[in-house]
Symmetry: C2
Subunit: 137 residues, 2 copies
């Protein structure tokens, strides 16, 4: 979908990790939590069920793949998976590795604390996640 454009706020708040068949995989620029955002590159989508059936299946597969990478890399106590979209309507799915000793636990992460930007620390993490997701290093 050559006309797809990432919504500006999503673009500003996240860092590019990888492009899978359907989704742009982004890292939320908040070092408090390992937090991926999956954005299907389809224009005009708001709800998961706006996607056609094949894209819904692909989204499910890509969420699972990202979940496996987060579990392998971080061994979280819990995954949080959510499609909210109250603030940014462009369809996106949050996938967050949660720990019983993270700063928001056991509450959801949204709106809890201002994000803590990674700075240079993001580069190595992004490379590791990208390698896991794409099989490339």
């Amino acid at each position: 979908m050559s006309d797809f454009e990432l919504e500006p706020r999503l673009n500003a708040d996240t860092l590019s990790v990888a492009e899978l068949a359907l989704c742009s995989i982004r890292l939320m620029n908040d070092a408090r939590y390992p937090w991926l955002v999956l954005v299907p590159r389809r224009t005009g989508m708001v709800e998961i069920f706006d996607l056609d059936e094949a894209d819904q299946q692909q989204l499910h597969a890509e969420i699972r793949r990202c979940a496996e990478i987060l579990q392998d890399q971080f061994k979280p106590d819990k995954l949080n998976i959510a499609a909210l979209g109250n603030q940014v309507r462009q369809l996106h799915v949050h996938l967050i590795a949660r720990f019983v000793d993270d700063v928001a636990w056991p509450d959801p992460v949204w709106g809890k604390l201002p994000p803590l930007a990674y700075g240079d620390g993001a580069r190595e993490l992004i490379e590791t996640l990208r390698a896991g997701l794409t099989g490339e290093s």
Copy 2:
């Protein structure tokens, strides 16, 4: 799965709506938002990806069915779909009809306000939702 038991807090916080092939469909007893909770009747599940592939597909189908019912009945501005499980580990999926004029908008609903129990008002809503979900009245 005859040995399945609904986690006590989920049981206390929600009202029974319907039993679909995989999930118990429950209504969160909070009149602030039309809010369904889907609980797969499988023992020991924590993450969506703990379910076998067939159950993951069935869960997806049942989330979609519930989403259609909420959209038909309430015409929400946005659906919120989330599997969190930080407080109750038994796998469950939240499906919440959100409105730009609801009391928590645009924030997520969790932890925002104490629940406002339906009282007698729940009965008619539950019957309507059950009829939509099961085709029975």
